[in-house]
């Protein structure tokens, strides 16, 4: 099994973090993983993205032209990456900020109003956890427990955020599973 995913959004949306969480979780579960960020000169406010591969075998290319999954958190990312998703692949769209869809028929497109769902939990900041949950709920690429552990680590210094983020993951997972087409 090899799964590759591109996470994309604005800088500041926590895109890099959720990519890393998938990689960490995969590693924890004994898989081969890689995480590769976009990097560029300091042009603030641009699109940030990272590519994650989780596999049972050694990973060749850490990035593909046509990723099998794509998680987009803002509209420019949708515009850039939606057309690239592999036929039959998965596209997770943050519908809170993206009023449109990819209009592709040949992929599984999952619309999740991440910011709204996160706001319901108390803060839009957790939108990234919602989308991560949705992605994992759909792909089952890693286990929820693995992610929980990482949330605990990540917020070890601000423990009050732990329950909220775990909750956000769960809300996302439900969406991911529920809307499976």
């Amino acid at each position: 099994m090899t799964l590759d995913v591109m996470f994309a959004g604005f800088g500041g949306q926590g895109i890099m973090l959720i990519g890393q969480m998938v990689a960490y979780a995969g590693m924890g579960e004994g898989k081969q993983v890689s995480w590769l960020p976009s990097y560029g000169p300091e042009m603030r406010g641009g699109t940030a993205y990272c590519s994650v591969v989780v596999s049972d075998n050694p990973i060749g290319s850490p990035v593909n032209r046509n990723p099998s999954c794509c998680v987009v958190m803002n509209r420019p990312s949708l515009e850039k990456f939606a057309p690239k998703v592999k036929k039959g692949g998965l596209l997770v769209v943050n519908s809170s900020l993206i009023p449109v869809t990819s209009e592709r028929e040949d992929i599984d497109e999952l619309l999740v109003p991440c910011n709204d769902l996160a706001m319901e939990l108390g803060t839009a900041k957790a939108a990234n956890m919602v989308v991560l949950g949705a992605f994992v709920g759909r792909t089952q690429v890693v286990k929820l427990e693995s992610l929980d552990l990482l949330v605990e680590k990540q917020f070890a210094k601000k423990p009050k955020f732990i329950p909220l983020n775990k909750e956000a993951l769960r809300v996302g997972i439900e969406r991911g599973k529920a809307e499976a087409s």
């Binding site: 000169p41 300091e42 042009m43 603030r44 406010g45």
Partner: protein, 250 residues
């Protein structure tokens, strides 16, 4: 009576929106240079030189010919260009990492030879472009990505005061330090930048204007907090004012 524009975009700037972060005063300094070129009628004879640093793309914003220099070497390119074509107006636009660290030798020798070009030196106490490393001008105690516990002067010494250093050279030159953190300071900075180009236009001397500038992004402050930081932290260490004039006794 028709409306008159009493403040607009100088001709020496293009329309392009800069890539600078919100509130970064690089943009103000660009405009001061452009206004000076406009006012002195120099735009069409000007060659700007920007080395690496956040202003590496300055060529997109200035409506004049441009050269892009290796990190720190702009004064050498400017020397070559100005010696080749003394009729051109040549200026370099350099950051503190660029000018005060890797480019120290080129700076000091261009100044000491009295090369007749102008340096606009943007001192923001940090390496902006590469993401906030310590510069020779970083303040004591200032946290950067390569001084996470704050600049330790016992280990790496005190910040370099470039304007004062250059002013000690005997070769005549014009050296002034200004700031752009308040409108009042901007107005004064404009005068100094213009003065530098006037000296160049007259073929008189080397000129360097050190401009205290902000880097909200890498300082981890808002734009407004950054202005305050310039006032409270930088100004006491980097006193503003004229450091050397070509009219000084040699």
């Amino acid at each position: 009576m028709t409306a008159a524009t009493i403040f607009g975009t100088p001709e020496s700037l293009t329309d392009r929106v800069t890539h600078y972060c919100p509130g970064c005063t690089h943009g103000i300094i660009h405009r001061l240079v452009a206004e000076s070129l406009d006012e002195l009628g120099l735009r069409e004879t000007t060659v700007g030189i920007a080395p690496v640093g956040c202003a590496v793309l300055a060529y997109h914003y200035f409506a004049c010919d441009f050269q892009e220099a290796p990190h720190g070497r702009a004064p050498a390119l400017a020397t070559g260009a100005k010696r080749a074509r003394p009729d051109l107006t040549v200026f370099t636009y350099q950051g503190d990492g660029d000018l005060a660290s890797i480019g120290t030798a080129e700076l000091i020798h261009a100044a000491n030879r009295g090369e007749k070009f102008t340096i606009i030196f943007v001192n923001n106490a940090i390496y902006g472009m590469t993401g906030g490393q310590m510069a020779p001008t970083t303040m004591p105690g200032q946290v950067t990505s390569t001084s996470p516990a704050g600049r330790d002067v016992d280990q790496v010494g005190y910040p370099l005061r470039v304007a004062e250093l250059i002013a000690t050279l005997r070769t005549p030159s014009y050296v002034e330090r200004v700031s752009v953190h308040t409108p009042h300071h901007i107005i004064n900075a404009k005068r100094a930048v213009r003065q530098a180009f006037e000296y160049q236009k007259a073929g008189r001397c080397f000129s360097l204007v050190e401009v205290l500038s902000t880097c909200p992004t890498n300082w981890g402050l808002t734009p407004l907090e950054s202005l305050k930081w310039v006032e409270e932290t930088m100004l006491p260490y980097y006193p503003l004012g004229l450091k050397k004039s070509p009219d000084d006794e040699v």
